[in-house]
């Protein structure tokens, strides 16, 4: 799956709501952003109940599932979202905590410019509308790792809304076909992270670390089912899924669970569930205290966040104090979808090839370096990079950066092939030698192993002639009209030349001889 270049590491959090499947959105206003293992409660927004005037009979109507993902991604920054303490992994507990982070009375949040820029970049990369004015709110709940008793988030008016992301789904035989799909992004918001809780059940206590730099990408999934044409069903939230594989399993399980429940006349509760990895099922985490009410209120210590563009930028403004959306847009690197399109147009490759090139770290750069240095056709380069080169990497579980073959080496090899100095089979042999990391160039390997294509057509003709004489039955088969017999002959000649003859030329010579 193609991933845009949104790798966030650090403090402060970005949220996106991605909608999968059509239909109207879940009216989700209150995401529960807990980092601990415990329940925080559910959304304060009531879902529309399923219209159940009649119990649906099994298999009577089709079911449609609606899935919304809440993705928590940490921002790559030096300091935190609202304070100047450092963002770093694996630091001693509470060593990266300022007075504000510890929620000491009298401290105030101060917004980190870099985090705002990161949010705008993310919004632009995901085709969102950037809100020139966005607001901060307090979301209240009680937990030991949230010393203030509230989390600063953007519930009413987030920084970016209504975006989309194009991605590829592998399908078809051998998963080689890539189908482009689009998912809607409901919104992106900046918010604080809570601390980390370590539960010590033995001593009946919880240890709190307020450093808050976890460096993970976390996803919560919201799932409901309904019959197409009817209102959306009650949704459940499945929290803290840390891998794509388990995310998919949890969603599949939950969809089926809800369908089964409803088809058996049961009802779906608007609740939070957790995914049990070993059992492969979701389980209710319902807090016995009942529904959570986050008592959202505007963050009184932060004015609205105002962003500008080239046209609205106030004259004479301190550049440090204003954020120009257009300027940030210019700093965006080429986005993957644009790169893929360019590769297809420029090099005539298939869409699935472009996905593969972008999905492997360093592979695109490798490919482009080979292209730069070789005379060979782009299609040949594509084929060698994606099939041969990538094949070897995968077999030995190596990253592109660990490859024993450099782009220059592959380029030289492809030049030898292109100039018909060596055959395709010989080229594969050379590649295998290169992989052994013995420091030899393709040219050296070719001469050492005498892999040069036979230049001497005369000698080749003689060889063909003698081969035909030595195998009269094959020649008779051919004359009778058996097309496969020629391959046998070609094979014999090739063997005799130790793969140094171009099979196409052998075929041509043989055919000429046979017709004469």
């Amino acid at each position: 799956m193609a991933a845009p270049m949104l790798r966030w590491v650090g403090r402060g959090r970005l949220w996106t709501f991605a909608r999968v499947d059509g239909g109207s959105c879940h009216r989700r206003e209150a995401p529960t952003g807990s980092t601990s293992n415990w329940i925080r409660g559910q959304s304060s927004v009531a879902q529309q109940p399923l219209c159940m005037t009649q119990k649906p009979r099994k298999g009577e109507h089709k079911w449609a599932a609606v899935v919304g993902l809440e993705i928590h991604a940490q921002i790559s920054s030096n300091s935190k979202l609202f304070s100047g303490s450092q963002v770093r992994f694996s630091a001693p507990p509470n060593s990266l905590v300022s007075f504000f982070d510890a929620s000491l009375p009298g401290t105030l949040p101060v917004l980190n410019r870099r985090c705002v820029e990161a949010a705008v970049m993310t919004g632009l990369a995901l085709n969102c509308h950037i809100n020139k004015k966005s607001l901060f709110d307090r979301k209240h709940y009680f937990y030991a790792d949230l010393p203030a008793g509230y989390q600063i988030t953007q519930q009413r008016l987030p920084i970016a809304v209504n975006g989309s992301l194009t991605y590829g789904v592998c399908a078809g035989k051998k998963q080689s076909q890539v189908i482009p799909k689009t998912v809607r992004i409901k919104q992106i918001q900046l918010e604080q992270d809570s601390g980390k809780s370590l539960h010590d059940d033995l001593r009946s206590q919880t240890l709190i670390d307020l450093n808050r730099a976890e460096g993970q990408l976390r996803v919560d999934a919201n799932i409901s089912v309904h019959h197409p044409g009817e209102p959306l069903g009650v949704r459940t939230e499945v929290k803290n899924l840390n891998s794509i594989r388990f995310l998919a399993k949890a969603i599949d399980y939950e969809i089926q669970r809800q369908i089964n429940e409803l088809e058996n006349g049961g009802e779906i509760l608007n609740e939070t569930r957790s995914f049990h990895y070993q059992l492969g099922c979701t389980m209710s985490m319902r807090d016995k205290e009942g529904k959570q009410d986050y008592r959202f209120m505007p963050e009184p210590n932060l004015p609205p966040l105002v962003l500008y563009d080239a046209t609205s930028l106030p004259a004479g403004a301190d550049p440090q104090q204003v954020i120009n959306i257009d300027q940030i847009r210019e700093t965006l690197p080429e986005l993957p979808s644009v790169t893929r399109e360019r590769l297809v147009q420029q090099y005539g490759m298939l869409l699935e090839h472009s996905f593969t090139l972008l999905n492997e770290v360093g592979l695109l750069e490798f490919f482009q370096n080979v292209i730069k240095e070789t005379r060979a056709e782009p299609k040949k380069v594509t084929s060698w990079v994606l099939n041969t080169f990538l094949g070897y990497l995968k077999q030995q579980n190596l990253a592109v950066s660990e490859s024993p073959v450099t782009p220059s080496a592959l380029a030289e090899l492809l030049d030898l092939l292109d100039s018909r100095t060596i055959s395709s089979a010989a080229a594969k042999q050379v590649f295998e030698e290169l992989w052994k990391r013995e420091g030899k160039t393709p040219g050296q390997i070719v001469s050492e192993k005498q892999l040069e294509l036979m230049e001497d057509r005369g000698a080749l003709e003689q060889l063909c002639h003698s081969m035909m004489e030595a195998h009269p039955q094959v020649v008779m088969d051919l004359k009778k009209g058996n097309p496969r017999a020629i391959n046998k002959l070609i094979g014999l000649v090739r063997k005799a030349t130790q793969s140094r003859a171009d099979p196409a030329m052998i075929k041509e010579i043989l055919e000429k001889k046979l017709s004469s």
């Binding site: 415990w38 329940i39 920054s77 030096n78 300091s79 304070s83 100047g84 303490s85 450092q86 001693p92 507990p93 509470n94 060593s95 990266l96 905590v97 300022s98 007075f99 982070d101 510890a102 000491l104 101060v110 917004l111 980190n112 410019r113 870099r114 985090c115 705002v116 607001l135 209240h140 009680f142 937990y143 030991a144 790792d145 809780s197 370590l198 539960h199 010590d200 059940d201 009946s204 206590q205 919880t206 240890l207 709190i208 670390d209 807090d287 016995k288 205290e289 009942g290 009410d293 008592r295 505007p298 009184p300 932060l302 004015p303 609205p304 966040l305 105002v306 440090q320 104090q321 954020i323």
Partner: protein, 118 residues
């Protein structure tokens, strides 16, 4: 709003159920009649806002709406004071704050001492 939930007739009384809900949400103990009466008076006071006709007027989001939100440069300038912070904690284990385990359930209303609410 709360007025209608507490008392549709508008006499401004808050039910025991609402008090229980508020106590759970805010972890505030309305331990006495006077506290509830104070709350009811506060709500009545705030309800006077409804006397103002706000049709077609955009609500104010923040009293700071005319202020510029200050943007801090992304530099590390604080932190590294674990010892100082941990001194505020009643209990400490190594460099961790110690808190009671998880969420402790509030006693149910009927388990509490009878609350004088009339």
């Amino acid at each position: 709003g709360f007025t209608s939930k507490a008392d549709p007739q508008g006499s401004g009384r808050i039910t025991a159920q609402v008090i229980e809900h508020l106590e759970r949400l805010a972890l505030v103990d309305f331990g006495s009649c006077e506290a509830v009466a104070r709350l009811e008076k506060a709500i009545a006071f705030a309800d006077r806002l409804r006397a103002v006709d706000t049709d077609g007027v955009e609500p104010m989001e923040s009293v700071l709406e005319d202020r510029c939100l200050y943007l801090r440069s992304d530099n590390v300038v604080e932190g590294n004071c674990a010892d100082e912070l941990l001194q505020n904690s009643h209990r400490v284990v190594e460099e961790y704050f110690v808190a009671p385990p998880g969420n402790i359930s509030l006693p149910k209303l009927d388990e509490q001492e009878p609350f004088p609410h009339s």
